[in-house]
């Protein structure tokens, strides 16, 4: 196993400070406050889980700071939690900051107990103290510190309250406490029995490892099997014995025991006065979850967030400026003039500034057409994400999504798909069952147009009356029908939906910027090379005449769809980038080669047609050859089948004529 290439970024001598805690407790706010301006966000090696690194200096001493994904317990269930735990296991931290929400002290303290139990150098940060005080909670931090036996800091990081104390606590951290909190005697006997069989050296306390073994943690079992070698048989035997003794209720007992301990620790620590009514944020939150008010609110979010901001501003204003003014009038003519002067060889001239030239096609499309659209989408997505709206949306659509074999959780990759299907396909791995992942991958490949494509298609169809409506209807119907059929045909267990609903909050500028930049960076590195490759291939095709042969070979298909031969180039482009294809249609439309019916049929078929190369490669990576090729074939058949049917239908009824 190889872990943390990200370590390269951390200087060897640095002391590591690791932030852990539930989602939505203000970890990243504390992280930002500690590290200041320099942050790198990278995927944890081999995962899609993002981990932020930064560093800070306290009284001349340099510390590396790592922000981990949200975790609820030392026993991981989701991939995020696995990564967070992994970091704790492998990183030999100087200190671990457990950040929790003061309002949910009782619920989140069990995790602190687990961290202490693991022998980690824990500092507890009781965050969001200001909100807790507002709802009438008084927390005696000193008493909590005395009861827990570790440093405890009260904080309200959004207001930088407690930051100095946190820095001081890190700097002055001296010794890992060895306080042991005992569970019920029978549990303790079992834990001791297992811990006594462990002989190797471990980063965590044996007692904690024994507990994880008893809870059947596969990764810890693997780690211990590696360390103990031949001795593992003894460990396994002892684990099996104890597990059998507590077979009926081990997890429940542990949770209840921790709850009992937390009650003891909190004695005299928290005083609550009766709550009066709801805060404005809570009232608004209730509106987002009531279908009568929630659906209109959703439409408002979609209208302003997507239609106005991404469609109007990104795909309109910014694209017009970059593409129309900057590239068409200044950059491209300049390059072409330069090439005309210094590049006498036809092939090189074509390669650089020709019809499919790297500069004139690849760079122009990537920078002027795609980047503004995807960029504005990611801004909108990050803002919405940071307010905590998505879990509410998930809960609203859960019932609907059950019909297509998914649960509300899948709404996040689906919405992200409207930005970039490739990224969304990668994010489907956060869904819990293989079945959900396959269904979501199919729907993303087929019926969800990415923002770049969407931008061009909306622009293209908005000029023709009824075309946009026809296109939208086709997409919605196919999404539902294919989802419904997929749910019937793909085997596997039915998903269940459960989610924590975090409090709504105003988006934090810095979070939004960091998230947007991370996504844009990923997108650009992933996509830009593909643009170059695509333009190289098209250029080679044009030079050798291969492109023309390919275009002509698609003639029967185009005839069946009632499209002119030139449209086939758009489909071939489409495979390199979905938006390339759409942009190809745009060229056809501007040169007046397409009738309204043809335009609509072409737009529908192209949107449904195979995902771009990048998405296909991602599908292959996430789902394997068999499944991804199956999806590829199915999507192609459905796309052209639908195009054919739609063409027949429109011609027969004379609609759009």
């Amino acid at each position: 196993m190889s872990f943390l290439h990200a370590q390269d970024k951390i200087e060897a001598g640095d002391r590591k400070v690791i932030l852990v805690g539930n989602p939505n407790v203000g970890k990243s706010v504390l992280f930002n406050a500690l590290t200041g301006a320099y942050t790198t966000v990278s995927n944890y090696p081999g995962t899609s889980v993002e981990v932020s690194h930064g560093h800070c200096e306290i009284e001349g001493e340099r510390y590396s700071v790592l922000d981990t994904p949200g975790m609820y317990s030392m026993l991981p269930i989701t991939e995020e939690e696995r990564v967070a735990r992994e970091i704790l296991l492998r990183e030999a931290p100087h200190t671990v900051l457990h950040v929790l929400d003061a309002r949910n002290l009782e619920r989140m303290l069990p995790m602190t107990l687990q961290l202490i139990e693991a022998g980690l150098p824990v500092i507890l940060v009781v965050n969001i103290l200001d909100e807790a005080e507002r709802i009438g909670m008084k927390i005696d931090i000193d008493r909590l510190q005395a009861n827990l036996g570790i440093p405890v800091v009260g904080a309200a990081m959004a207001r930088k309250r407690g930051l100095a104390e946190v820095r001081e606590a890190i700097h002055n951290y001296s010794q890992v406490p060895r306080g042991v909190m005992n569970y019920a005697a029978d549990l303790e006997r079992g834990i001791f029995q297992v811990a006594a069989t462990l002989e190797g050296e471990y980063p965590l306390e044996r007692r904690a490892l024994a507990l994880l073994l008893l809870q059947r943690d596969e990764e810890v079992a693997q780690l211990i099997a590696e360390r103990e070698q031949d001795g593992y048989a003894v460990v396994e035997k002892s684990v099996n014995e104890v597990v059998f003794t507590h077979r009926s209720d081990l997890h429940l007992r542990l949770s209840l025991e921790r709850k009992r301990l937390v009650k003891l620790i909190l004695e005299g620590v928290v005083q609550t006065s009766e709550r009066q009514g709801l805060t404005p944020a809570e009232r608004f939150s209730a509106w987002t979850m009531n279908p009568w008010t929630g659906v209109p609110l959703l439409l408002i979010v979609l209208y302003f967030g997507l239609y106005e901001f991404v469609g109007g501003f990104g795909a309109g204003t910014v694209v017009d400026f970059l593409e129309g003014t900057l590239f068409e009038e200044h950059i491209n003519p300049w390059f072409i003039a330069l090439a005309d002067q210094y590049v006498p060889w036809y092939w090189l001239h074509e390669l650089l500034v020709g019809e499919y030239g790297i500069l004139t096609l690849a760079v122009r499309y990537a920078v002027a057409l795609v980047l503004p659209i995807v960029g504005t989408f990611f801004v909108a997505f990050s803002v919405i994400e940071d307010t905590g709206y998505f879990p509410r949306l998930a809960m609203l659509v859960d019932r609907l999504f059950k019909y297509i074999g998914l649960n509300g959780r899948a709404v996040i990759p689906m919405v992200l798909g409207f930005g970039c299907d490739t990224m969304a396909t990668m994010v489907t791995r956060t869904l819990e069952t293989v079945r959900e992942r396959i269904l979501a991958t199919i729907l993303l490949a087929l019926a969800i147009p990415c923002s770049a494509q969407l931008g061009v298609i909306l622009g293209l169809l908005s000029g023709v009356e009824g075309a946009l409506l026809t296109w939208s209807l086709c997409m919605v119907i196919l999404f539902l029908v294919v989802g419904f059929l997929g749910a019937k045909l793909v085997p596997g267990e039915r998903p269940m939906f459960y989610m924590e609903i975090p409090p709504l909050r105003l988006p934090q500028m810095r979070n939004v910027i960091v998230k947007t930049l991370t996504r844009m960076q990923w997108y650009f590195f992933e996509i830009f090379p593909l643009f170059i490759v695509a333009s190289l291939l098209l250029w080679a095709g044009k030079m050798t005449g291969g492109l023309e042969t390919l275009v002509r070979s698609l003639r029967p298909v185009m005839d069946a769809l009632g499209l002119p031969l030139e449209a086939s180039a758009a489909f071939i482009f489409g495979f390199f980038r979905r938006d390339f294809g759409a942009a190809g249609l745009y060229d056809l439309q501007t040169s007046g080669l397409l009738s309204p019916v043809q335009l609509t049929v072409a737009a529908v078929t192209l949107t449904l047609f195979v995902p771009c190369v990048a998405q296909f490669l991602m599908m292959k990576k996430e789902r394997g050859w068999k499944v991804s090729l199956g999806i590829f074939v199915a999507v192609t058949v459905i796309a052209f089948g639908t195009g054919w049917l739609l063409n027949q239908f429109l011609l027969l009824t004379g609609l759009l004529a």
Binding site: L252, M289, D398, K402, F497
Partner: protein
Amino acid sequence: MTNRLSDKAEEILEALWIATEEEGDNGIGLQALALTADDEGVQELSRLAYIELLGERLSLRPEGKPEARLTVRRHRLAERLTMDIFDLAGSEGDDKACEFEHLLRGVVDTKVCTLLNHPTTCPHGKPIPPGSCCEQARTSGSVGVVALTELKAKEAGEIAYLSTSDAKKMQKLMSMGVLPGNTLQLTRTYPSYIFRVGNSEFAVDEELAREIFIRKG
């Protein structure tokens, strides 16, 4: 109950109760039960004056009614038990229910009935004659432990237990703080179940809501 009835006698009583009390008949022919007049069960019941044998026809005497009623109750409770708790359906469930019903006497009857929260019908939809425990629960107004789906919005209660069949989901719920003993306040039931535990809010679908059991307060 001084003399415990034989299993055979209980089955006869049961059949008679169903025929007379539920189907409005005045008795059953021996043939319909595949019995003869010298059958041990018939003899036993006749001796106790629970039933009367007139020619080829058996009928239930008033003296036998209370016992017959309890027998039917035990049978249907046993069906509920095998179905709801042991998760056995079909002929396997029926067989097990038949074995169990003879064990559900006295205190066990009450305990099982309370565990099942005083059910009123068997899995086949037939009524379960209420026992004294049911009457007591009714008069005291206690509703006992119910699934989250039985609560109305704005109602609250204490989480009694989680019965989810999937250990991972139960762990996840528990680590999020949905733990027995905590107070749960339901805020919405549609489109999903939204509830508060402490100061946190959660959404679950109906399937999961059915597996969270609440002691109503």
